[in-house]
């Protein structure tokens, strides 16, 4: 894909990113930040790709290290966000109904 096409995708994604979180109550700031944090753990895909292309043992070792780090970000991020949100479960719905 050409650089210009990538740039177009980037610009459109900026606007989507701005739009989706424009109205959030302070109650949800922490879980939202944590969820966004988990999403950038998708760098794991990049770490997997460069590890797969490694030609020397040294490259592979560095790539695998990046894979471990990225996994911690991705998996840990989603798990800790879920744990936070578990505590809101039902309660917020109850509050909304009354």
């Amino acid at each position: 894909m050409s650089g210009v096409a990538l740039l177009a995708i980037f610009v459109l994604a900026v606007f989507v990113g701005f739009e989706v979180v424009s109205k959030v109550s302070t109650t949800l700031h922490t879980p939202l930040m944590s969820g966004a944090n988990a999403i950038h753990g998708i760098i794991l895909v990049g770490a997997v790709i460069v590890s797969g292309e490694a030609r020397t043992g040294w490259e592979l070792a560095v790539g695998l290290f990046a894979t471990v780090l990225a996994t911690v970000n991705l998996v840990g991020g989603f798990v800790v966000t879920d744990r936070m949100l578990e505590m809101f479960k039902g309660r917020s719905l109850q509050g909304g109904r009354r």
Partner: protein, 468 residues
């Protein structure tokens, strides 16, 4: 494994990107937040699977890569499951840091490949080299900065702003050096320059976060989160991977908005948070404990004040969470309600260590959602409250935020507890709050203090209320 064509992979990535957008959208509303998070996780799983089955991927290392993923999961899941909710902000900071670090490493490996190709006679790839320079620099800043925020929140190092001699010129030199090195990587595609850029980025990350005061650290975590998002987006440019580009950009953009929302909730500007201490403006206040007289009372006195009130407002703070006293405060509230007393909880937007942190902690203790009042809702109620019980909170009720322009928290909206008839502070000691400034309210004639661990004090008060 070469099963999926390039188009199929791109479609898989598109599905994942849509999942991420829906995840962020879902996380913005209490009803859909948990589902949103799961949608995001599903998107990540799809993306990973698609990557493994992509055509043209010569993955002879797949078993080792899977092992690395298992190792990462084995580290992350117990950490995320077992961390106490009070320590959760610093865990999020660490997760953010390792993500930034991973992105920087990925970019360096691409630089390694590229510089090999260039010395073998290939053309330079300007766009790639620029994206690599950006990823290495911002990724390393995010990694080192996140580690420092972790150390601050874990109170391994001081939570007060650290301003080293010559910090401001050093920071400027560091920034200039990183720009020059970044241009060098862009111009030459040299791996050696890339590695120097990594080191400078790490130092820059440390220098940027050291002068930030403890109370402002959550804003910095959010900012570094946005940085990591942009790093991952640049990584998408480097690898020509649309999913990394979209996901990283989403986080970068939403993270920027979220950082500004958080700063606004605390009455701070992002620039003020990052550079205020370097200008020497926002470090006022002292850790010295004043010896002015305060009114210290017994648990029995507190019980009498509470038991014969008509309306009590509880202001929970980080001290309550640290003492794990959420359940005891709920027990006390139920006792008072049984006596026909109205009990409300006043939740400051940044009570705890992060916006929304206290809501999570109290929800964990089954405090009814309807009793939790946000600041704007509860501030008019203080006038008619007989007693305000401040448990382990300090900065969020400190009148200095309105009266003292030199205070680091000046301008932050506060809970106006001084409007109430009586204020009772449950505190461990006279030590100032997280922001490191004294609270005049403690010396007010209408204020009583009950010293001790929040949980022990509350247990005694509960006992005393029962025997009224």
């Amino acid at each position: 494994m070469n099963v999926l064509s390039t188009n199929a992979v791109e479609v898989g990535y598109l599905v994942a990107a849509v999942c991420f957008i829906l995840a962020l959208k879902g996380l913005s509303s209490p009803r859909t937040a948990r589902r949103g998070n799961l949608v995001g996780a599903a998107g990540a799983a799809i993306a990973l699977l698609v990557t493994f089955f992509a055509e043209g991927s010569h993955f002879e290392h797949i078993p080792l890569i899977l092992l690395a993923i298992v190792v990462g999961t084995a580290i992350a899941v117990p950490a995320a499951r077992q961390v106490r909710m009070t320590a959760m902000p610093q865990l999020v900071a660490l997760f953010n840091g390792v993500g930034g670090g991973a992105a920087a490493i990925v970019a360096l490996m691409e630089l390694n490949r590229l510089s090999g190709a260039i010395s073998a006679g290939a053309d330079k790839d300007w766009g790639n080299q620029a994206a690599i320079a950006f990823t290495v620099l911002v990724g390393s800043v995010s990694f080192a900065g996140s580690v420092v925020t972790f150390l601050k929140l874990q109170e391994i190092m001081t939570t007060r702003p650290v301003v080293l001699p010559g910090a401001a010129p050093l920071l400027i030199v560091g920034m200039a050096a990183s720009v020059v090195l970044g241009l060098g990587v862009f111009g030459t595609g040299s791996l050696a320059l890339g590695l120097v850029l990594l080191v400078v980025g790490l130092l820059l990350g440390v220098m940027m976060v050291l002068p930030v005061g403890g109370a402002d650290v959550p804003i910095v975590i959010s900012l570094l989160n946005a940085f990591t998002g942009l790093t991952v987006a640049a990584g998408g440019f480097v690898l020509h991977n649309t999913l990394l580009l979209v996901a990283g950009t989403l986080v970068g953009a939403s993270g920027t908005i979220l950082t500004r929302l958080m700063a606004a909730a605390m009455g701070r500007s992002v620039m003020g948070v990052m550079f205020g201490a370097l200008r020497g403006g926002s470090t006022a206040g002292s850790t010295a404990v004043s010896d002015r007289p305060v009114k210290s009372v017994s648990p029995e006195d507190v019980a009498i004040l509470l038991g014969y009130a008509r309306k009590v407002i509880v202001v929970p703070g980080y001290g309550l969470a640290v003492a794990q006293a959420q359940h005891t405060i709920r027990e006390l509230a139920e006792l008072l309600e049984a006596r026909g007393i109205e009990v409300l909880y006043a939740i400051h937007p940044v009570a705890g260590r992060m916006p929304g942190h206290m809501n999570v902690l109290l929800a964990e203790a089954n405090v009814p959602y309807e009793a939790l009042k946000e600041m704007d809702e509860v501030n008019p109620e203080f006038k008619t409250a007989d007693v305000v019980l401040v448990v382990g909170a300090n900065d969020v009720v400190n009148p200095a935020a309105r009266t003292d322009p030199k205070a680091p928290i000046y301008g932050m909206p506060i809970l106006e507890v001084s409007e109430a008839q009586q204020v009772i502070f449950l505190k461990r000691s006279m030590r100032p709050g997280f922001a490191g400034i004294e609270n005049e309210l403690l010396y007010d004639p209408a204020t009583s203090l009950l010293f001790g661990d929040a949980k022990e004090s509350l247990t005694k008060v509960v006992g005393a209320v029962k025997s009224l």
